[in-house]
């Protein structure tokens, strides 16, 4: 590498520090708000650091007593998990065979075009008919109905991800297995699945998080604790007359934990995924 002057090195380190602060400050503040007393949060001048760490809001939100903020929060947490799990499993059920077929048959390349097309579609383009369909079948404000709607996002996403993941698995293996007289199910179980499993697991995690983060359809199609998801519950808190800002921050921290944990743990896979997607174009 070229020789770096001292001034240049100081400049680089200063800029790196600045970027780190810009990224971390809002996140740190979200966490600090969640553990500061409401007195600290409404003080002027503002207390940037709480007198004592106050974790009571976390236990409040995870409490099950009737009609409390906790009960509403817990039911929305449960709904988010239910909807995201159902939609993810359904997306994998349709996505694994389709992704495999598209990966082994280049003639199916047009499916990729279809997938990119649906990614571009704004959700508003489907929202009115989806509402009418759900209303017709009594599936409004229902976790199954919302999971069905989420398939419109997850199914193409998962298929595309799986196809890209299946592509590098060599075809020779299948040919060898079929020459050896393996049945299709044996071939799947013994030869393909062990190799495809990491790809499927990755698709599962990202599909779940995509559903976990979804807000627009959940806002439109759910109205109370029967089906309201975490994102809608947080929006309610943020837009409502909650006087304790720390409680809103706490709900935000909890909702952010799964995707942020996955982001940190799967850093390497994420970055290489971006590289491939970005460079291949």
């Amino acid at each position: 590498m070229e020789h770096q002057s001292l001034i240049f090195r100081i400049f680089i380190h200063t800029m790196a520090l600045l970027v780190a602060v810009v990224i971390l400050a809002p996140l740190a503040w979200l966490f600090i708000m969640s553990v500061s007393s409401s007195v600290d949060l409404s003080a002027k001048p503002l207390h940037w650091w709480p007198e004592t760490l106050d974790f009571s809001r976390y236990s409040l939100l995870f409490s099950q007593s009737d009609n409390s903020a906790g009960a509403a929060f817990m039911s929305s947490l449960g709904n988010s998990i239910k909807v995201a799990s159902m939609a993810t499993i359904a997306a994998l059920v349709v996505g694994v065979p389709a992704g495999w077929a598209a990966s082994r048959n280049p003639q199916l390349g047009w499916t990729l075009g279809g997938v990119i097309g649906t990614y571009m579609l704004p959700p508003v383009a489907l929202s009115v008919p989806l509402y009418l369909i759900l209303a017709k079948f009594g599936l409004l404000n229902n976790v199954f109905g919302l999971a069905l709607v989420y398939l419109s996002i997850l199914a193409p996403f998962v298929t595309w991800l799986l196809k890209a993941g299946f592509d590098p698995i060599p075809r020779d293996l299948e040919d060898a297995a079929s020459i050896d007289g393996a049945r299709l199910d044996q071939m799947l179980r013994i030869v393909i699945l062990p190799l495809a499993l990491p790809v499927i697991a990755t698709a599962l995690i990202f599909a779940f998080l995509l559903a976990w983060d979804e807000f627009f359809y959940a806002l439109l199609f759910t109205s109370n604790q029967n089906a309201k998801t975490l994102t809608v519950a947080i929006a309610d808190l943020a837009g409502g007359r909650v006087s304790d800002y720390g409680l809103i921050a706490t709900a935000g921290v909890i909702a952010a934990l799964p995707p942020v944990a996955v982001g940190i743990l799967m850093q390497r896979a994420l970055i290489s995924g971006l590289t491939n997607g970005g460079v291949k174009g």
């Binding site: 810009v22 077929a101 590289t275």
Partner: protein
Amino acid sequence: MSTERLPLRVWLLMLPLLIVMLTVIGWPLIDTIRLSFSDARLVGTGGHFVGLHNFTKMLSNSYFHSAFFTTLKFSLWSVTLELVIGVLVALLLNQKFHGRTLLRALLILPWALPTVVNATLWRLIYNPEYGALNAALTQLGFLDSYRSWLGEPGTALTALIVADVWKNFPLVALIALAALQAIPNDIRAAAISDGANVWRRFRHVTLPYLLGPLMVALVLRTIEAFKVFDLIWIMTRGGPANSTRSLSILVYQEAFAFQRAGSGASLALMITLMITVLAVAYLFIMRRLAGEGR
């Protein structure tokens, strides 16, 4: 190859996906088109065919014009800032310094944060009475009295753009960094030994490698920004005085708040057309770039 007929087994593997796509995407899209030519309400009657009435009404509507320009302004500023900051941060991360790996890991955080949480976080930061931005600016002496950042038409859209840029510049930075690291060292070394200055090196060595991946980032971010709903809904609901009402917010109000399914559908269709135009234009540019370059 492409004329070869696919065995039935392959179609059977595709069938479940095709059924799902037709049910939850294909049919609703067709129904949106049908509704857009009708005066259907969200609840109650099916509505009558009204021809192009919804479209002509919408196109001459000042609400539509202002929502269009708000969306355009939001998208242009957000995406431009995300690209510029993203590339600068990528160039920084391409240098050697202590903590480089850590900084790259930090970039994942805003990107992994759910949009709803991001919007909520920034809404709290901008809070007119207790927000951190007011507190910080006052304590540093930049501000005499607390302001309502999201409550004033002059600052609300800017505040939204800042929140969007903070969450999304890391994605651009990671894509650009990956592209930078693909530049072979000997090309860079050759340019240096030829005596090319910093700008010429950026222009002739770095930029050609960045352009393709950046176009991809540009497409993805522009389409996302043009669809913006969650961020605005949570932070301002389109206010104050409709100054942050995007096209998607307008559809929501038209179709769901006012229950005018027909005109809501026509508006949704127009947004879809605009996004299609954007996407096709980008694809065209990318083809051109791929044809010319490397």
